[in-house]
Amino acid sequence: MMSTDTPSLRRAFWASLRRELLLSYRHKGDLANPLIFFLMVVVFTPLGISEEPRMLARIAPGMLWVIALLATLLSLDGLFRSDYDDGALEQMVLSPQPLACLVLTKVFAHWLLTGVPLTLLAPVLGVMLQLPEGGYGILFLSLLLGTGSLSLIGAIGAALTVGLRKGGLLLSLIIMPFYVPVLIFGSGAVKNAIEGFPVNAELAILTAMLLAWSVMAPFAIAGGLKISVRA
């Protein structure tokens, strides 16, 4: 009675990705929230600091990066929560496919639906913050690379707090220290680009961090989720 169809990781990957995309398509409102947050804090910046163009131009790279980072952080709390609550996470743990690979799909979907839109929006908001000419390309590129790391690191926090009913603030607290290097090299690249310095080193390090986290984070995430499911 056993079938010859052996389970394959590729199929599990596509099934998970398809489901994530479907789910977020059905909750379109959630997709917009980080972007609205991004826009809103950018509007707050001149109100709270100064509308003076030279001042804004100076802080724009750092502000854009910090706000994008916070927007990512806010979108992470629900990453595993609904799967945890309705039992879908148990089914993922029970799958013969490695959990680390399955969660990597979820994180990839999160990046696709949060990191990429934030990256696309950032240059527009850069105009509002008087970001100097030379910064746009590198802002886009550094965010594209950096948000990948942000999603991966944040997912670790989401996995470690999934069993808590109110994990949102705690998630931010435990994860933010790990965002420090990403922020430093991300905003550093944009600042260098504006001042006309080379940015190769920063971009190379951002890429290296993305690769390292892609390898490491799924194991931490899977470990955290298994502990939470077994509790």
Binding site: W14, A15, R18, R26, G87, S95, L102
Partner: protein, 213 residues
């Protein structure tokens, strides 16, 4: 033929055993009902079979080889239906079923609408699960049994929220599964109309021993 054996097996909470150690062996072709009072650890026992709980002591042998949680090789043989059916409300019944199998790396089952018809949800394949009642949600989860090729079914209260007709159907299905050599381990508060059900009673462990209150 699947075989599972337990030696001095017990689950623990906070370092205390939940039930008295179990010693028994299960083979394909059996329906096994785990019974016991509330809090005796029925759900916990089922979860530890699936690797969803790991604070247990004693031995669990699968086909004669001892299992530990980290190298759990049972997964591909298992179908687990817990208290939470794992059905996403914003997906349709069909999408939910396809994901169940997809996430295990199995090909998309073609027989989804048949399976849904078997549990009394004919024509519901493209209905969103948020439009369904609790009983219908449960049936979506149960429809997996009609498609699955897993040898061991672990069902925690599968009859909850299911009407009489549904219960009969499910009993027939379980009987068919075991007559094909499968193994069913379940908990239920309902009397089962299946012949030859093996009853394993969990006895609440006394909180004696090194306990002083």
């Amino acid at each position: 033929m699947p075989s599972l054996e337990f030696r001095q097996f017990t689950c623990q909470r906070d370092g205390h055993p939940l039930f008295n150690p179990l010693n028994f062996a299960l083979n394909g072709g059996e329906v096994v009902q785990i019974a016991g009072p509330n809090g005796a650890g029925k759900t916990t026992f089922l979860r530890s079979l699936c690797g969803l709980f790991d604070e247990w002591t004693g031995e669990m042998l699968w086909q004669g080889t001892p299992l530990r949680v980290p190298d759990f090789s049972l997964c591909s043989q298992l179908l687990y239906l817990g208290h939470q059916p794992g059905v996403k409300k914003s997906l349709t019944a069909g999408e939910n079923l396809r994901w169940f199998f997809g996430v295990q790396g199995m090909p998309f089952p073609g027989a989804v609408s048949d399976a849904l018809a078997q549990v009394g949800l004919q024509g519901y394949e493209d209905t969103f699960c948020y439009q369904m009642s609790a009983g219908q949600l449960r049936r979506v989860a149960l429809a997996r049994l009609y498609i699955s090729r897993a040898a061991i079914w672990i069902l925690d209260e599968p009859f909850t929220a299911i009407d009489r007709f549904g219960v009969q159907n499910l009993e027939t299905l379980l009987q068919r599964h075991v007559s094909n050599g499968g193994l069913v381990i379940l908990t239920t508060h309902q009397p089962l109309a299946i012949s030859g059900v093996r009853l394993i009673e969990l006895q609440m462990a006394g909180r004696g021993g090194n306990d002083v209150d």
